[in-house]
Symmetry: C2
Subunit: 436 residues, 2 copies
């Protein structure tokens, strides 16, 4: 058996601690599978999450950049996180020192992926980041290797466990968004500052990485249209349920006539579709290729699951597999043509608070017709139905429209006209529909 | 860019024709991804399925074994099928001539996988067979590489599209098994001789391969317990539906205290589980590891999907990735301890045709209790319910039992006792339940 692959690990939080455990507990099995031992030789960390880790045989290094340049290590594992320093300099230093790098850092890849991939390619070292997207689901490997023969037309999925937990739980337990978020925070499924997750930016980072791999384009994180889940009410989830849909925060990247559309927003998917069935913190990715449409469902976060992806990357390196980080040389990635969101085509769910007076429904229908928007269904509830608290006689009534495929532009124009007509109160709720 | 990888292809049926098309139509993209061209240089086939293929630039070779030893080729793609010759000799010849081999031949792998893997390892060439299991789903890569850090406890799934089509369609359209089979044959989803699919042997071959990869054991196809779907009636599917289950033909390999259990049989899975949702000819595999539980859903057959897997294997070879065919050296595969089916533990669905006389239910319940079998539910219908044709007064009545977890042994003993008691007519229908 060949000499061991010597690993330096920066970051001993939840994931880093799990990586140490796997490398130690499964050393013999991993060596058999990789063809050589994968050995942790040095670490660098501000604090150690798992206090029971046995790090007696491991050398401590003071700074992550020193670890990155350490002559003893073959590969640096970066698990500190954050798009800036120290992660960025650490990874750059390692690559420029001719070390392989494995990272779970989605923000770093989303912002600096091309630059880092070029550094890796220049030195002919590996730069692997399976753990950066969808945790334990091997979606990077699937896109980069398993579906290599496919022209990918769409990659989309549930990429944030926090949001999926909240949306699932709200409907199951009839909770408001705020109460559900508080519960998620109490259980550790949401951060004290939840903005990054619930406002969709975490999903956007992951989507930008998948987009690059799927379409062979340069990462363009700023081109992602982003809407989070704060505006979703229990009423929307219940109405969706009634109409045969589930609401999920999806990241969707799709090849369209006007370019690559990248978007993150609450999305209605038909109940019987695989993504609709995925509840709780679980992630799921669907890849629609010209030969294969594949759905992958699994854990998107957590120490052991994410560490599983990190160790898989390490074993690929130990085995000698060298693949371009983005599946082809970074010089071959093309600049994506960005499809503007106003050209987005699809169905829409629109919930309006309509003024309860004669002619309101006719006005709404007319404005839709003016924009050539066909309606699949209109639901107008009489006041006080579904056990709602008794409302005063002049309170608005909810009107829900489901449209057939139309354009974002048309919907926005129609809604602006309806608002000008003075037949609705407040802002309309708009949720895009994605067909399987 | 390095020199091209030169491919010889034996077999130009549905899959072979699709492989040719992909290699030709996507030559530039594949070269960019693999780092070098993947070039079809020679073929051998009895007939060509796709009459529009352009094979003008490709050399024809008379026999597959001559192709296997052809000095010009680097890799042989075997798409003839069949566990015996010519496939076996062709693949052996290629490996012994120092050529890489890619095959979609599950029967060959299931029967001779270890011998062929050893030949490949001796020559340090690749022997890849992604297309042999679940068509376009990259389940081999996922087990062998993506989940390399996991101890796998169970791998299970829907591995035969024909059976899944029939079981889905029977329930949706209220068809008998025989009518549904005829329709599947007419539509090309079932062979004229459907035995290999519907009696479970195709699933058993695929399961035996997955078992070896999941548990690091030698392939033992003969250890697979096999029951097909011929005995499944519409009444069973409807009763399962009513009780919250779907019936699927599953292949299940699971690590138990008494060894590795490998079984193929109609199985009831809870309706809300991912596998229950998979309808039609689609395949699905669930892999339960200690760090990651993953579900993969995709096309299990068809030219383009299967060819996608073949080309993925070719690109791995072109890139220089060499992995042991079964994920570790064949000499490290352990002889599996075979868990006998009578030790199988789980829940059961049992449908009996009970004699309609006082004491029958008590007798059945007593025999179950004697074997310490707890019942989750008992459904006994009065005669003529559910729109059944009017039956005579002494016709048997259906009794359905759902048990809590028990053992195969206990169930068999209880049913034998019930039959001896003379309170049932004909053979009981027994369907095992698999929990998610």
């Amino acid at each position: 058996m060949a000499g061991s692959l010597k690993v330096g690990l920066a970051g001993l939080g939840t994931v880093g601690s799990s990586v140490v455990r796997i490398l130690q507990d499964k050393a013999a099995k991993l060596a058999a599978k990789a063809g050589r031992p994968v050995e942790l030789v040095a670490v660098c960390a501000k604090e150690v999450r798992d206090k029971n880790l046995d790090l007696a045989t491991v050398r401590w290094v003071d700074s992550p950049t020193a670890l990155a340049a350490d002559p003893e290590i073959d590969v640096l594992v970066e698990l500190m996180g954050g798009e800036g320093d120290p992660a960025k300099t650490t990874v750059e230093t390692a690559l420029k020192s001719g070390k392989h790098v494995v990272t779970a850092n989605k923000a770093l890849i989303a912002r600096h992926g091309a630059m880092l991939a070029r550094a890796a390619e220049d030195r002919n070292v590996a730069f692997n980041f399976e753990a950066a997207v969808a945790g334990g689901i091997p979606v990077i490997k699937t896109l980069r290797e398993g579906l290599v023969a496919n022209r990918i037309d769409r990659v989309w999925g549930i990429l944030n466990g926090t949001c999926n937990y909240i949306l699932t739980r709200m409907l199951d337990e009839k909770l408001s968004f705020e109460d559900c978020l508080k519960e998620a925070q109490r259980l550790g499924y949401a951060e004290a500052n939840p903005a990054f997750d619930i406002d969709g930016f975490d999903t956007a980072h992951k989507l930008a990485i998948l987009t690059s791999l799927a379409f062979g384009t340069e990462i363009d994180c700023d081109a992602v249209y982003v809407e989070g889940v704060r505006s979703i009410s229990l009423a929307d989830l219940e109405m969706a349920d009634e109409l045969g849909y589930r609401v999920k925060l999806l990241g969707v990247a799709v090849r369209t006539d006007s370019g690559i559309e990248q978007r993150v927003h609450p999305t209605m998917v038909p109940k019987e579709s695989p993504l609709a069935q995925v509840g709780g913190v679980t992630n799921a990715v669907k890849i629609d290729g010209d030969a294969v449409s594949l759905t992958l469902i699994g854990p998107g976060a957590g120490g052991p699951a994410t560490a599983s992806a990190v160790v898989s990357d390490l074993c690929d390196i130990a085995r000698g597999d060298r693949i371009a980080p983005f599946g082809r040389s970074v010089d071959r990635l093309v600049r994506p043509r960005r499809a503007p969101m106003q050209h987005h085509a699809g169905g829409y769910y629109i919930r309006l608070a309509a003024v309860d007076k004669p002619g309101t429904a006719a006005t709404i229908a007319r404005r839709m017709a003016d924009e050539m928007i066909s309606l699949e269904s209109i639901v107008q509830r009489r006041r006080g139905s579904r056990g709602e608290a008794q409302a005063s006689a002049d309170a608005p009534v909810p009107v829900v429209l489901i449209t057939y495929a139309t354009s974002e532009d048309a919907v926005r124009r129609a809604l602006a006209a309806i608002e000008r007509d003075g037949v609705v109160v407040g802002s309309p709720q708009v949720i895009r529909i994605e067909q399987n």
